[in-house]
């Protein structure tokens, strides 16, 4: 294991923009080891952009990103790729590979063992996220939206990562599946010591799964802390977010 450090992801004074538009503005954020941090923010507010910057997919105008003690840069891509799993908002499964092959691909590259053994584990992982061995043989185009989410989660977990970045993992899942998802993340967090940084609007997940919640507004983190604390913050957007009818219903 890497030398023990308090934070799994450390974002320092990060700025990301497109052309003249600044989406992430001088943002600093620490995700502690073994915590589950939920990120909320308005649609189009830059949550996905922040996640993509952490994944190294968008260039930073300024600032520094450190993951598990490695500074994000060309030299660390493979090490970070091995230890950090990601679930994209649209799934991003490889369309020309079956679901099973989507999982086997990173496993074959990074892990030992025979093909047959890795295949068995890959199927076990698919079953853990609620897909059947039969679904494993399908191509991504043959899956429903919720199944794509599950398959993408299984792929994010393929290498048993230490850090998991999730972009709206439960959107498009029915409430039962979303609950199963929360249980799975909780189990993995305890046994694997997983750190999770997730964008979510699922108030149930925010309530029962996340240790802390961060609110992104205007390119900055305007509040961070346990949900109960963030709910009490006096910020117009946060008030509107939690005091809206949907927010009240879910937290009642």
């Amino acid at each position: 294991m890497t030398p023990l450090d308090e934070s799994a992801i450390r974002i320092e004074t990060l700025t990301v923009g497109f052309g003249a538009k600044i989406v992430i503005d001088d943002l600093s954020l620490d995700v502690r080891r073994n915590e589950i941090l939920g990120l909320i923010g308005a649609s189009g507010g830059g949550k996905s952009v922040l996640l993509r910057a952490v994944l190294g997919l968008l260039p930073a105008r300024a600032g520094r990103i450190e993951i598990l003690g490695h500074v994000r840069g060309p030299g660390s891509a493979r090490e970070i790729g091995r230890r950090c799993g990601a679930l994209f908002q649209q799934g991003a499964l490889f369309s020309s590979l079956t679901v099973l092959e989507n999982l086997e691909f990173p496993m074959r590259e990074y892990l030992g063992g025979s093909d047959a053994f890795r295949r068995e584990v890959a199927i076990a992982k698919l079953e853990m996220v609620g897909l059947s061995a039969e679904d494993a043989r399908k191509f991504p185009a043959e899956l429903s939206g919720g199944m794509v989410k599950r398959a993408a989660l299984a792929r994010a977990l393929a290498l048993d990562p230490e850090v998991l970045l999730l972009d709206e993992p439960t959107s498009g899942l029915d409430p039962i599946a979303a609950g199963d998802f929360d249980d799975l993340i909780r189990t993995l967090r305890r046994t694997l010591g997983l750190t999770v940084f997730m964008v979510t609007h699922d108030l149930d997940s925010l309530n029962s799964l996340c240790d802390r919640v961060a609110a992104l507004y205007g390119g900055k983190i305007v509040a961070i802390g346990p949900l109960a604390e963030v709910r009490g913050v006096d910020h117009p957007w946060i008030r509107a977010y939690f005091r809206g009818a949907r927010g009240r219903a879910a937290l009642a």
Binding site: M1, S96, F117, V121, E127, E142, D160, T191
Partner: protein
């Protein structure tokens, strides 16, 4: 084909070498302890994905046991939990820490369905099967082609009665892409081919003193056959492929479904303008190509064979009959129709994967060139029969 993609993805990582952090964690081990009731196994070390080789070796070698003690397992992930589930069998699991219980139980609950094995294959049966499939695919292609031709014709007839259904802006846009923008490359290509035919003609005919007939050779060959074929092949490669890729990616992203849901006919909105643009562009390009090829022949005649341009033009007007020109031009719109319809059929066959988009684009080009040449043969028989 799927493996090809996998292989391509693999190559980009190959050079970096795998990352193994085994040095940082202790190897998993499995001690065997003979006890009264039977063999007891004691697992220790890090049971994690980085030690996948070692884990597999352990479960392959492990004998049946009555108990499995996991108290010594320092680290555990889903790989390790799976290995423990496999090892456990009927044995009793002891020493499970609170931290590890959740994952071990979650994995133990799984059905562990193994993928179905590959059934043994018979070479001869396989060969017969693929022959049969190819034949029935060819038959299905013919049906698809006819169906698309019918759809486009219906859309065309509908548009004749309701002129606003001609998407004029769309037609003009495609005409620019497949016609106007193609002029330079088509002119250059046909110019070169005309020059090459003339040069070969002079070189070989000179031996028989038949140089005078080179102009006839160039004119007849270009006007009747080569001009329209070259233009068709170029249109298939340049425009047919683009049509297939566009329609195919719209199909992939359900844009075509969205169009149908709104009550619009994709044949009218997407396919008819593209096909019409080609039907106008290919004859025009054939004409330009013919002129440019004859010019190429003229340049060679002048520089290589010393035939001055006035004489070349004089010989040309004797050699060229209106019939040769007509034969070429009559074929052109039909060739365009073949390219456009095949491109649309293949585009609509695209399914969810990026790979099928590539496969359909390739097959659009190959099929339309093949069909165009077959059609050219049919025309040759037809024109011979009517004496043109």
């Amino acid at each position: 084909m799927r493996q090809v993609v996998g292989a391509a993805l693999r190559i980009c990582y190959r050079d970096c070498g795998p990352i193994r952090r085994r040095a940082l964690t202790s190897e998993p081990t499995l001690a065997r302890i003979a006890a009264d009731g039977g063999l007891r196994l004691k697992a220790s070390g890090a049971w994690i994905a980085d030690h996948a080789d070692a884990l597999e070796a352990l479960i392959v070698a492990a004998p049946a046991s009555v108990a499995l003690d996991v108290a010594g397992v320092e680290r555990l992930d889903t790989f390790g939990a799976y290995a423990i589930a496999r090892l456990k069998g009927q044995a009793e699991l002891t020493g499970v820490s609170e931290r590890q219980r959740g994952l071990l139980e979650a994995v133990a609950r799984l059905p562990h369905a193994a993928p179905a094995g590959v059934k043994p294959r018979n070479r001869l049966a396989d060969a017969l099967e693929s022959l049969g499939r190819a034949l029935s695919a060819a038959g299905a292609d013919a049906v698809d082609f006819a169906a698309m031709l019918g759809r486009v014709s219906l859309a065309f007839l509908h548009a004749l009665r309701h002129p606003q259904a001609f998407r004029l802006r769309s037609i003009v846009h495609h005409l620019d892409r497949v016609g106007v923008q193609a002029v330079p490359i088509m002119a250059m290509m046909t110019f070169l081919v005309g020059a090459i035919i003339a040069q070969q003609g002079f070189f070989h005919f000179r031996k028989f003193g038949a140089e005078d007939y080179v102009v006839d050779l160039v004119a007849v060959l270009i006007l009747r056959e080569i001009g329209v074929l070259l233009v068709t092949i170029m249109a298939a490669g340049r425009s047919g492929s683009a049509y297939t890729a566009e329609i195919g990616s719209m199909k992939m992203r359900e844009e075509i479904d969205a169009l149908s849901t709104m009550g619009f006919d994709p044949a009218e909105f997407l396919i008819l303008p593209r096909v019409l643009a080609l039907v106008v562009a290919v004859p025009a390009l054939t004409f330009i190509g013919a002129v440019s090829a004859l010019a190429g022949g003229g340049v060679v005649a002048w520089l290589y064979a010393g035939m001055s341009p006035p004489i070349y033009i004089e010989r040309l007007s004797e050699a060229v009959s209106m019939t040769s020109f007509e034969v070429g031009m009559i074929k052109a719109p039909f060739m365009a129709l073949v390219v456009g319809i095949v491109a649309a059929v293949e585009g609509l066959k695209v399914e969810g994967s990026t790979e099928s988009l590539g496969a359909r684009t390739t097959s659009s080009v190959v099929k339309s060139i093949f069909l165009a040449i077959v059609l050219d043969g049919v025309f040759a028989i037809f024109f011979a029969a009517v004496g043109m």
